[in-house]
Structure formats: structure tokens, C-alpha cells
Amino acid sequence: MYRSQKLALHYFAAAVIFFGVMTLFGLLSALYYLYPSMLFHTFDFQMSKIMHIDTLVIWLLMGMLGAVYWFLPKELGREVKGIWLAEILFWVFCAAVVVVALVFLFVQYGSSDQFSMWFINQGRKYVEAPRWAAIGIVIVMLVFAYNVIGTAIATRRMTGILWVLCIDLVPLCLVYLDAFPQFTNMSVDLYWWWWLVHMWVEGTWEVLIGCIMAWMLMEVAGTSRRIVETWLYIEVMLVLGAGILGLGHHYFWIGTPQYWLSIGGFFSALEPLPLLGMVVHAIYDAGTHHLKTTNQPGFYWITAEAFGNFIGAGVWGFMMTLPQINLFSHGTQWTVSHGHFAFWGAYACGVIAVLYVAKQKTSGIDYLSGRAWKWGFGLLNFGMLGMVMGLLLAGMAQAFYGRAMGGSTLMAFTQSSENPWFVSGMWARTGFGVVFALGYIVLVYDLVTATRRMPKAVAPPEPA
């Protein structure tokens, strides 16, 4: 095994741990809605939400970095350039995350000065981490970019997937610089902030996971390189063709000119198309291989990724992306419903699929299956589905009573939050969150023990 792949395993382990931390703080955040006086003045909602969404970004990023470190040396047939630096940085990265988490847990916030921005809490959603830590992430990403590009240069070989990856890393790192400035003007702040958030999840990350899934399809389904690369180009064309100006769906209400209502509505309405393309391709590949695979869980999680991405991002996004609807759904639990479903479908499922593939390869097992992974798969997806349905219900109640009827005042907000539909939605979300958390436990159990429980060499069963 290459050193780069050993490093990947470290990244995977860290990702799984932070996935657990995220789930824990998700459950805690959900509880405030049911027991509002919980931990009052000790650890308030905002800190719990910060822990939840920041660890979300961290574990997905770690999972995807791991995936690239996993596939890269195989792609080029050589050890990754500068791997020692990446190995050191992994530990620096983990240590930095832990320090930031401790500051969030115990210091929580500072006073209104630049010191707080540098060392405590920047208070900008998803990028709350203080600036010193943001610099750390930039360094990790730069070394990662150097590893990828440097290795390609050293082998004097470029594949289509690698071209896409290398070019994608440039904007991916560039928009992250958005984590530093401290704008006075909220409109300007949010304008650039969305370049980071939207351009990550609906642009550069989508391309990155596209590259990873291309490698996965070659690995799990044995699809030929020419096909995955052609398909990757098509996906990139459609995703970026719609997604770059689709950014406009966040520029409806932040002070930006009215033309964004048309541009954002139009281009983001096209965004589901490439996501559907992935579903079609997944079905095609599954069909060509008669659903025959040596890695059952990996295969199922890839399928879940394709469907989840389309439904969570595509359908849930499409529902509320026209400005006339978004005027009311904007900034409610409806948004949360879409956020969960989309992140889950597009990225979490993909990362989990990679975990299973790496698991199989490291232990040299010919055929990976069993019973536990099915429980993990079922509980996680069922839990997530239940959560997003509860959130959708709550969000619709908020849009209906709080925004459209009540006019978004404090009074309207409190009354819609006491509405039985909203309250039931919050309970459902929490209950299904527990189901989800159980699924997480089974997933970890399976990832740790699956290969021990599987016989070393067994022929895969014939297709059904």
C-alpha cells in the first residue's frame, strides 16, 4: 500500500469520528427546540449549531481529501509527491480542529474586536472558526493541491479526471479565502459569503465528488475510463453551466439588484438536470453489470448518493427556488430540510461509499457484504428521510403562518413556532434523529468489524 493510502485511512478515521461529533451536536441542537431552557447560559443554541455545521464541513472535507489521497497514487502508479508534508499536516489539521472545538465549547465568544475574529469566533455561518484556524485550513488545502498537481507533474502524466480535479482545486481554494474578511456592510458580506457556500456545494465540491465517483465507478463497477471521463465532462458542463449563475437564488433578498430574481430563478431551475443525469448513469451502470458487485455496501451507498443528490438537492431545491415561493420559504426550517437532504445525498453518502471501498481493499477481501451494513444503511437513510420530512412540515408551517400570513414579525415567528404542525415537525425531526444516530453506531461497528466477519475468499453470489 502507498503511504498516500495510509494517510487516506487516517483521514477516513478522522472523518468518521467528526461525523459522530456532528451527529451528537445535531441531536443537541434539535433538543433546544423542544426544551428551550436547556443549558441556558451554559451552552446556548448558537454554540451547538456552530459545532454541528462546522464539524459537518470538516468531516466531509476530510472524507473527500482522504478519497483523493486514496485514489491518486493508483491513478498515477506512483507515491504522492511531498507525502511527508501531507502526513504532518494531517495531525496539525486534527489538532487545530480540536483546539477550535475546545474554544467553542468553553470560551464560546469574545467581545467586539479583531482579537475575537483572530482567536475566538468569527460568527459567520459555516466559517465561524477563528482566522488562525482558517489560515491552517488554507495551508492544508494548498499542500493538498501541491500533492495532487506535483504528483501529476512528477509522473509527466495527466488523465482526464486529474485535469478536472486539478483545475477544480483552484477555485475551491480561492473561494475559501472568503473565510477571512470582516465586512461592515451585511449585503456585501453575504454577497461574497455565498460565493463560498454556494460555489462550494453546488460547484467545486460537486465537481470534486464527481471525480471521486468517477474513480469509484471504475473501481466498483469496472466502467471504462473513456466512459467515466466523457460523463464527467458532461456533468461538469451541466453542473457549472447551471450552478455558477444559479448562485443568483441566494441573491434575491440581500439588497442585490432585482435582475437576480430572474437570473437566479432560471439557472437554478436547471440545476436538477445534471443531478438526474447522474441517476440515469448510475442505473445504466448498475444494469450493465446486472447489479453484480464485489462490494455490496459500497455499491448501495453509491446508488444512494445518486438518488439522494437528485432528490435532496434537485427536488427539494427546485421546490423553493423560484423567487415567488422563496420569498416565503426563505430562512425557515424548509431551508434546513433541503440543507440536510442535499448534504446527505450529495456528499455524506458518497464519502461513506468510499469508506467501504477502502475498507475492502485494505483487508484484501474479495467480496464484502454481511448483515450489519444493511442495518446501518437502512437506519441512516430512514432516519434522514424522516428528519427531512419533519423539517419540511415545520418549514411549511413557518412559511404559511409565520411569513405569508403573519408577516415575519416576532409575533408571527413565535406563533408559527407554537403551531402544532411546527411542533410535531420538531418532535419528528428529533425522533428520527435518534434513529439516524443509531444508524451511525451500526455503521461504525460495521466499518470496524465487517472485514473480520467476512471470509477471505468467497465467490460473489450469482445475480438475482
Binding site: S37, F40, G160, Q182, D189, G241, L410, F413
Partner: protein, 196 residues
Amino acid sequence: MSIQEPGFWRAGAISTTAVMIVVLIFLSIDSIQVISAGGANVPRYDVINQQIGYRYDWTRRMDVPVIGGPEPLFGTVYSETGAQALIAKGKLVIQSRACMDCHTFFGNGAYYGPDLTKSWLDPAWSQIWMPATGAKTREDAMVMFLMNPDRYPTWTRQMPNLQLTREEAQAAVAYLKWMASVDTNGFPANFGMKQP
């Protein structure tokens, strides 16, 4: 080149992306002008010396902010630089306390607390908090609330005391007043005009 060739789609991906990026850059140059303080949609910071309203505009078919006559904040008329400094402080207060991880600004953030876009215009100040705090003006009630939110709760979900000093609370109030003057294409709709 045939459509089965990867090269065809590679060219397509590059050119489509390039065109979109160029369009986005031009739109961004225009948008940043419109949303800079003093731009078409976002008033200068010294707008806090004036009255701010929010009314339905029949030609645009949406709610728009209305900037009225003088209405000094905390009895002070701020110079342009004074207002700028105060608002800058307000933004630092908002970031340092992570208000955005409980509240939304222009609908962005977290959903545990109410949206603050038009909070300055919220009838709750005169109907609930002015009586509760005994303050004579809306801005004084806001300052008292922000300094001790745990003392004046209106319902079960409470805002914690975030240790704001008086200066910090005043800066945050100025920020909220300025924010209410931003033209947000009608978000939130019907603010304060309907009773639930």
C-alpha cells in the same frame, strides 16, 4: 468532432464554464456598486439619522423601505464618519457574539430566533418591550433588551445574555436600524402589516 468523443464534451465544459464565469463577473461588478453603502439599494450609514419605514409599492409590486425625515438615534445626529464607525462596531458585535447562529439577517443564518432584517420596525418594541423595560423610546428599549434579554422574555425560547456593554448594544441597534433601510426586493413580505 463527434459527440462520442470525450474531447467534444471537454471543450463544451470549458467553454460553458468560461462564459458563465465572465457573465458572473460582470454582474458582480454591477451588483457590488448597487449594494455598497450609498449605492442604489443600500443607503449610506448616516441614514440612521432619518426615519425609516416599509411600505407596499404598487409600481414595483413589493414592499420597499421608505426613508423619511430626520429622526436622530439616541438623540444624536451622527456625522457620516461617526455613523460609519458606529455601524462598523455593530457588525463586530454581531459577528463576535455569533448572532447569526440563532437569528437570520436578510433571511440568512439560523432559525432559532426571529429574522432581524426589519427588526427595527417590529411592533413588538412598542407593544411589548417599551412597556416591559419602561423605556421611553424604541432604541432605548432595544438597548435594554440587548443588554439583558434574559430579563424581558416574551416566550419559552429566550435570548441569552451575551454580555453586551452599553456601547455594544447601541452599535447593534444602529446596525439594525441601518439594515431596515436596505431595499431587499420585498423580503420579508407584509412585515408588520398583518396580524397572525
